[in-house]
């Protein structure tokens, strides 16, 4: 699902809040998994920031992240993600919107993550969504 972060030029102007939220989610999950794999499980972002010598990690992954979504924070999350898991696979579809259209009807996690990245935009039709599943 990290391929969702490889078409920022098309997607960030429209979907920065949702993509940043998912980048933070994936980075946090990868850090937890990495700590477990090292035999030192840790679910404290502060402790993980100390372990990695990365003081800004606490702010980026704070559970009460209340800052205005920024492309800089998004890039910070994605670059840290790449350091952990290597280069992200290229998008198969070229944009977030194309991913949703082309993956429609499949039951994969990629579609669910792409769908959630659309975010909670305000508008006259926002009281309605077709959601196949919700990933927690």
């Amino acid at each position: 699902m990290s391929q969702l972060f490889t078409t920022p030029e098309l997607d960030l102007p429209r979907y920065l809040p949702g993509l940043l939220r998912e980048a933070r989610y994936l980075l946090r999950s990868c850090l937890y998994a990495s700590a477990i794999a090292e035999g030192r499980p840790c679910f404290s972002v502060r402790e993980l920031a100390l372990r990695h010598g990365d003081s800004d990690l606490s702010r980026l992954l704070a559970s009460r992240y209340v800052e205005e979504p920024s492309e800089q924070d998004y890039s910070q999350c994605v670059s840290r993600l790449e350091r952990l898991i290597g280069p992200l696979p290229s998008s198969q579809h070229g944009s977030l919107e194309a991913t949703i259209v082309n993956e429609w009807g499949t039951s994969g996690d990629l579609l669910s993550m792409a769908f959630m990245a659309l975010g909670a935009s305000s508008g006259e039709f926002d009281d309605y969504a077709e959601v196949e599943k919700v990933l927690l």
Binding site: T7, L10, R14, Y15, H93, G94, S95, E97, A98, I100, V101, N102, W104, G105, F115, L118, G119, S121, G123, E124, F125, D126, Y128, A129, E130
Partner: protein, 200 residues
């Protein structure tokens, strides 16, 4: 037999069901058919469904009311954001119009694939159909009236909800075990087909 009006619920991109219900209506003495909107999304035949019903409206045999899915499609095509349309399952309609996978610029491809006749029809669909004793709209919220009220929009399960003051006839066409319902006025008789178009 007195000539009747047929009201048809949400089709949601299911061409076999649409054809099945049209066959059932043809067997009766029906002077006019009113489709209650939501022709697109969910099923794989959004384009084909609109292509099938638009000529019925053009020759005066049918009235095509607008549904929230059509309104969202027009809003997306007008550039007010693709996200709300995608959230309500617009990918199904986009795939139907484009005929398969899309490239990165979805909106440009989608716009290019929608015939002008479809766009004009979508823009001009009325919200209500009214006679002296019956009023119909996609959503019951659009009607505050003492006449008999026919609506769709909310999936009420496999059977329509019919009372002395109104009827709700969205029976989940295109969803698993869904049906497409036609309600005949003033008899209040009902005909249903499944997603294959077979009579239920």
């Amino acid at each position: 037999m007195t000539s009747q009006v047929a009201f048809v619920g949400d089709v949601h991109g299911c061409l076999p069901a649409l054809r099945g219900i049209l066959r059932a209506i043809d067997e009766r003495d029906v002077s006019h058919t009113v489709f209650l909107g939501d022709y697109i999304n969910k099923g794989s035949d959004s384009y084909e469904v609109l292509a099938e019903v638009l000529p019925l409206a053009a020759c005066g045999a049918a009235t095509l009311l607008t549904g929230n899915h059509e309104q969202a499609m027009v809003s997306a095509l007008d550039g007010r954001g693709l996200a709300p349309f995608l959230k309500m399952g617009g990918a199904a309609a986009i795939r139907s119009y484009i005929g398969g996978n899309v490239g990165p610029d979805v909106l440009t491809e989608f716009r290019a694939s929608v015939p002008l006749s479809h766009l004009e029809a979508l823009r001009s669909m009325p919200e209500t159909f009214e006679t002296e004793d019956v009023i119909a709209a996609h959503s019951s919220g659009a009607m505050n009236d003492s006449r008999y009220r026919v609506s769709a929009h909310v999936d009420v399960g496999p059977e329509p909800v019919i009372s002395s003051h109104g009827a709700q006839i969205d029976t989940g066409c295109s969803s698993a075990s869904g049906r497409l319902t036609a309600l005949f006025w003033p008899s209040l008789l009902v005909v249903q087909v499944d997603n294959t178009g077979a009579r239920v």
